[in-house]
């Protein structure tokens, strides 16, 4: 099964500046993380098609590593990289009158053995099931414990 999350922001900076914040390791290292105040340590970040990605961080004393690979690098409009074995992140940069509109799409396949799920029409019915379950689960589906409002 594949899930997709899309986040959009507008920044009062030209697309080149926003784009470069994704490819310049010095800038990237100041914002690219996982959670409120945990940043990735960037070991490899080679923003050319086929270029390698290797990052790590310490979470509760445990070292977490992540690798990936750039698929598309098209300054200053589009960046796409594989994240881990089965996730893809696409960043699209669009010029606006006073800055840059950024769209980040994060797609993830959860686990292996998903073929029977896909052929079983899962994706068509997941929304329906979600809706049905929402009222029952809604109050229990919250933010992660460590995710505090910033």
């Amino acid at each position: 099964m594949s899930e997709r999350v899309t986040i959009e922001r507008t920044y009062p900076h030209p697309p080149t500046a926003v784009f470069d914040a994704w490819t310049d390791v010095e800038i990237l290292g100041r914002w690219f993380g996982c959670g409120v105040d945990t940043l990735w340590q960037i070991h490899e970040w080679d923003p050319v098609p086929g270029g390698a990605i290797a990052v790590s961080m310490e979470i509760e004393g445990q070292r977490v590593e992540m690798t990936g690979r750039f698929d598309e690098v098209d300054r200053p409009t589009r960046l796409r990289y594989r994240w881990g074995a089965d996730q893809t992140v696409t960043a699209e940069f669009r010029a606006t009158t006073d800055g840059c509109h950024l769209t980040v799409t994060h797609e993830g396949a959860i686990g292996d053995g998903m073929a029977p799920v896909l052929t079983g029409g899962w994706s068509a019915s997941v929304q329906q099931l979600d809706d049905e379950l929402h009222s029952r689960l809604g109050h229990r589906v919250g933010r992660r414990r460590d995710a505090k409002p910033s």
Binding site: E3, I7, W31, G111, L133
Partner: protein
């Protein structure tokens, strides 16, 4: 970031009949004879579906007199929605930080 126990959940839910059962149970626990009647399927077929749902940890059985009452276990469903919630959180934090970094980094041009 993703829950390791999801595969059996998705496999159990890959079948439309089992999704129907889950949807019905989301409204409340139900005795097995009622389920068999509601879905117009044989006891054997129902029993097979329930077995799969049970081994995926999606339902629990409770003995009620002579029949079993089937109840939905909500925790696995929470994982289904939290992948998206977690990823959204991560990117919201990242893109907030990016705004700050861009403001700091901007040189007059």
């Amino acid at each position: 970031m993703s829950a390791p126990t999801l595969d059996p959940v998705f496999e159990a839910l890959a079948n439309p009949a089992r999704r129907e059962i889950v949807t019905t149970l989301s409204r409340g626990p139900s005795p097995t004879p009622d389920l068999a009647e509601a879905f117009d399927i044989s006891k054997q077929a129902l029993s097979k579906h329930l077995q799969l749902l049970e081994s995926a940890g999606l339902i629990a059985r409770r003995r009620r007199g002579r029949t079993d009452e089937i109840e939905l276990v909500v925790e696995p469903f929470e994982h289904l929605t939290t992948w998206a919630t977690t990823i959204t959180d991560v990117w919201n934090h990242n893109l907030d930080r990016l705004a700050t970094v861009l403001d700091e980094h901007q040189s007059p041009s």
